[in-house]
Symmetry: C2
Subunit: 296 residues, 2 copies
Amino acid sequence: MNFEEQLKAHQQRAERALDRWLPAADIEPTRLHEAMRYAVMGPGKRVRPVLVYATGQALEANLDQLDSSAAAVEFIHAYSLVHDDLPAMDNDDLRRGRPTCHRAFDEATAILAGDALQALAFRALAHDSLLQVPARRRIEMITLLADASGSLGMAGGQAIDLAAVGRKLTLAQLENMHLHKTGALIRASVQLGFMAAGGLDPDAESALDLYARCIGLAFQVHDDILDVEGATEIIGKPQGSDVDRDKPTYPNILGMAQAKATAQRLCDEAVASLAGFGPGADTLRLLASYIVKRDR
Amino acid sequence: MNFEEQLKAHQQRAERALDRWLPAADIEPTRLHEAMRYAVMGPGKRVRPVLVYATGQALEANLDQLDSSAAAVEFIHAYSLVHDDLPAMDNDDLRRGRPTCHRAFDEATAILAGDALQALAFRALAHDSLLQVPARRRIEMITLLADASGSLGMAGGQAIDLAAVGRKLTLAQLENMHLHKTGALIRASVQLGFMAAGGLDPDAESALDLYARCIGLAFQVHDDILDVEGATEIIGKPQGSDVDRDKPTYPNILGMAQAKATAQRLCDEAVASLAGFGPGADTLRLLASYIVKRDR
């Protein structure tokens, strides 16, 4: 399998796992379950689940072990998008080229769908019978997901982001925002992959964590670049929407050339951190490049 | 200790536990942490934590074991109130006699505070070192909380409620809504209390569960009665607000006299279900009466 095929395989595996955990759309309350499925099952890159699987691959794990972690991080990610898109937050009408959840349904349903997706993330980790790790490790995984999602992780990053609109940020402040807003969950994806795969070697764990921190930031830098250079029909949201809102971005602070150099440097650092891994880690290595080259 | 003193002791114990789990208000992002504390630490009856502790008492448990369960159910309850009060949902300005979270802060912060409180609930259960139960039981407790909170529990009940505004419901449909919206978390409070206390006897578990289902419904019937008969300054929200919105209520469907008789019957049934317990269950017994007699 080449990288594109591997990526596709992981994405499809993730979608099967998500589908398995989501209540069927004809179970009551049906409108809520439809909204949850709409929010999760639309087109998406599945970066976080792919990271879970690719980390498991690097450790030669049985991928069955990784399905609940992959689903859990994507449920958290999907709920955060639904809530971020709300009128009181970013007020976005389009997401991945389709109406946002509150546009396709209504605001109240979107709020509840996000809330229920968060609960489902924890349920997936807690209740998965395919995950054959000691109970104590599973509890550590749940704690890790809660920390990555909560006020000291992703939700906190979103709060920092809201407070930053219209303000001038230093590079350090911008980085701090992204380390929380997107970095925490990307890092958790790799950590959960490591833990679900039964990983025990602390050196491997540190190397993977450095990898995750680098690609998390690289992902965000490249997102900011796309927001300036990408076309609406490809990125699925109005081009320049961050600039319009006077949000601080890497190209704003660093200039475009320097922003691109930063993304590439982070990608190189991510790949370098995996030096101790064999060819099993090739998907992780190629993912780093994919993240700074993708056009959406 | 008489019942009022016992109730007060449990409430205060709950508040200490909540305070311990909540990040300090001066930790970044401070506005988010202030909002989380505002949503949780204001005046409240703490019915769910009190149920956790009273269940533990009935099983002669060390109450240290119960703090994280008490905090977890109250975090879930608090987040649900914050989100329910939002303009897109019930659009309430007052809660427990104070401005609602989105009024005291802003809508975006209220959405995020609710989201972060949900994560904190799972963190409390997963990470509490005082809870000395086998790891497998802790995982069952986390699963139980996720189920009680999610689309087949509380969030689902809220969706059923939204869909019911302006519609005529049968008694069975109204009961189904409340069994989800408030009943699921009240039941989870007793179940978590049982599990955290190390309870193993399935007969005791069934009896407690019947108790919880009865008082969960009794609580809601009495809430509907208060909405008609209570005064705004006591119940902390505009009197008659459910009627204004044309929400289905027990007094609407049954008439006031029958609604009151139903609340009393459920209370009696709850007490009867505890026949096999000794005086340790007196707080639970008196709580049942308290629930149908309270004036707010």
